[in-house]
């Protein structure tokens, strides 16, 4: 019964061009500005830094783009990251082989996502509400597991994931880029992508087309959990420690990146290219302002203004 305004849709093609080009211009603007402000900004070392720093947000933003395009939302990703991280630490600490622990941590992430998926897709509960619930509950579980103590001390081979490099490029960055590319192909060229967009536009019509909407939606949430698990592995490897507060509040960063990237908050429209640019913009902004020594308090104000300026253009 909620008919969308017809006129807006007519401009869809031009919106697409605008979103991406605005983001590219914005990113370029930031790069130019910061390189005039700090001689250290445009160095290989620093660029590598930025890329490594955004891997956590970037990895989680991939499935989040799917989830939001499909018309839902996942606020529990930070808690899932925390849960996977401490699961990994806990298992390894209690004598499990590190790689087995890694796999089990991923499984736990996917299971947590499946719990969301079950409630939201199968039982048709509101995504925001459910994931606020799991956000609180899973974080609680993290504290039950760790009793608040960080778990550290992993084998050197494990540190390669988060700290190692291949041909000078950090391994975590390579993985993030690869997953972004795969996700891009999936959403552009496969059924899953079509279903995701269509689900966000008109779920009823998808159901009437004989497609199992429960399965598709369920899958997006499992993905979300799994990727939060992947992010957790890199997190633990990079910081050499699984802390109970790991990933706390990260959902806001991730959602901000996805929204800056032009994905429509009510679903149906969005792109991974945009998300990738959104992630880079946030990372660059933080890094550049840090190099300038700007206090985070002003950084968040600047981020706030940026959201208003960048995103408002696209959602008119």
């Amino acid at each position: 019964m909620k008919e969308e305004v017809n006129t807006r849709l007519k401009r869809l093609p031009s919106i697409k061009i605008n979103t991406i080009s605005i983001l590219v211009i914005l990113l370029a603007g930031l790069l130019i500005f910061f390189s005039t402000q700090s001689p250290y900004f445009l160095t290989t070392l620093n660029i590598t830094n930025v890329l490594v720093q955004v891997t956590t947000i970037g990895l989680i933003a991939i499935p989040m783009t799917y989830v939001i395009i499909s018309g839902a939302m996942d606020l529990s990703v930070g808690s899932i990251l925390g849960l996977s991280a401490v699961t990994l630490g806990f298992l390894y600490e209690s004598g499990t082989n590190i790689w087995v622990s890694v796999v089990l941590a991923l499984v736990v992430g996917a299971l947590a996502g499946a719990l969301n998926g079950l409630l939201i897709a199968r039982y048709k509960m509101q995504a925001i509400v459910v994931t606020i619930g799991t956000l609180v509950m899973l974080r609680g579980l993290v504290y039950i597991i760790t009793k608040g103590k960080p778990i550290s001390g992993y084998p050197d081979s494990f540190y390669f994931l988060g700290q190692g490099k291949v041909l000078g490029i950090p391994f975590s960055v390579i993985v993030m880029m690869a997953l972004f590319s795969i996700a891009y192909i999936l959403i552009k060229k496969t059924r899953i992508g079509r279903y995701t967009y269509a689900l966000g536009n008109n779920e009823e019509a998808v159901r009437y087309s004989g497609i199992n909407v429960v399965k598709v939606r369920f899958l997006t949430f499992v993905m979300s959990g799994l990727f939060a698990g992947i992010a957790a592995i890199f997190y633990v490897s990079r910081y050499a420690s699984a802390q109970a507060s790991a990933g706390d509040g990260i959902e806001l960063d991730v959602i901000t990146a996805v929204l800056i990237g032009g994905t429509h908050i009510f679903g149906g429209r969005g792109s991974l290219v945009g998300t990738f640019l959104g992630v880079l913009i946030i990372g660059t902004l933080r890094n550049g302002l840090n190099l300038m020594g700007v206090s985070v308090l002003f950084q968040t104000v600047i981020l706030g203004v940026l959201i208003l300026v960048a995103v408002s253009r696209q959602n008119k």
Partner: protein, 319 residues
């Protein structure tokens, strides 16, 4: 008030003089704002550039990202109050490999390559001091509850562990009924105190392990007394306090005594130490630091000392 922003001195400052990055656990809380004053003061006194910055939440990952960024900027030294003492190890060794001096302050990371830890006292000492203070006030027996800012912050858990062990060993009749966390949220701390008073009718003491806890506890106790739910003086309060926050409670007798230290002294000492280290010098036990006083150096630990806060001396503290 001075803004924490440093502006655009980045480029040339590095070539003309030294610059240090002083990194608290987060930006915003007034405890760190007080510390910043000492840091800035030291920067001026010593003629070095200081950048005081941290994430807006006590997030370990963001904190490490920021340290990494400042290493890129080629600062000469960093002073870190780590949110996760284990997680900073890689970035510290990275810093050392670039000849950057590293110290920790306020909260230690003993298993890393940091040169010194600068604190008011060690966490163990503080925990024991808190324990002794509450045991003393309640007469050596009865139920007490612990109030912490975080269930996962290492400097909180270390103090709690020390306090618990100390009570078990020295005051076996004191029972620690529970530990509640405020997650650095004052309202939560306040509600926690209210709920504790309600839950344990025979509660005799509340121990605050962070800055927001004691005033919240005092506020709740005072209200309960005013409402006639408990008698005046039945619940004692001990632990750490910022003098200006508990002034009225000390004066009206809700609180008898608290442990305190001046975060700005920690900040000053941190910059001072980094300055010495980058000059190739070192700290010495009993050394006088301007604006701070004499310090105790014990191995790789520098202690500036604590004070006991009472209603008689509370007015003397300038923070």
């Amino acid at each position: 008030t001075e803004t924490p922003s440093e502006g655009d001195t980045g480029g040339d400052a590095a070539s003309t003089s030294k610059s240090f990055f002083i990194n608290p656990k987060s930006i915003g809380p007034a405890y760190w704002a007080a510390a910043e004053k000492g840091v800035k003061q030291a920067g001026e006194d010593l003629g070095v550039e200081v950048v005081f910055n941290a994430p807006s939440t006590t997030d370990s990952a963001q904190q490490i990202n920021m340290i990494q960024d400042m290493l890129t900027r080629q600062v000469n030294g960093v002073g870190v109050a780590p949110n996760d003492p284990e997680a900073v190890a890689p970035v510290f060794s990275n810093a050392l490999s670039q000849d950057v001096q590293v110290v920790t302050w306020d909260s230690d990371a003993p298993d890393t390559d940091r040169k010194y830890y600068i604190g008011a006292a060690t966490d163990a000492e503080l925990g024991e001091q808190f324990a002794e203070m509450i045991a003393n006030q309640i007469g050596g027996s009865g139920k007490v509850a612990f109030m912490v800012a975080s269930l996962s912050a290492q400097n909180q858990t270390a103090k709690v562990d020390a306090a618990t062990a100390y009570l078990e060993a020295n005051h076996p009749d004191v029972e620690v009924v529970t530990t509640v966390s405020s997650d650095d949220d004052q309202q939560k701390a306040y509600e926690n105190a209210q709920n504790l008073i309600s839950t344990y009718p025979d509660l005799k003491g509340l121990v605050g392990f962070a800055g927001a806890e004691a005033p919240a506890a005092a506020q709740a106790v005072e209200e309960a007394v005013n409402a006639g739910n408990i008698e005046q003086g039945k619940i004692k309060i001990a632990g750490f306090a910022v003098p200006s926050l508990v002034k009225e409670y000390l004066e009206n007798g809700t609180i008898e005594e608290m442990v305190t230290w001046d975060p700005s002294k920690l900040g000053y000492t941190t910059v001072y130490t980094l300055n010495l280290l980058t000059d190739g010098e070192d700290v010495e036990d009993g050394m006088e630091i301007p604006n701070v006083g004499s310090i105790k150096v014990n191995g790789d630990i520098i202690l500036t000392g604590t004070d006991v806060l009472t209603k008689d001396n509370v007015a003397d503290f300038g923070f």
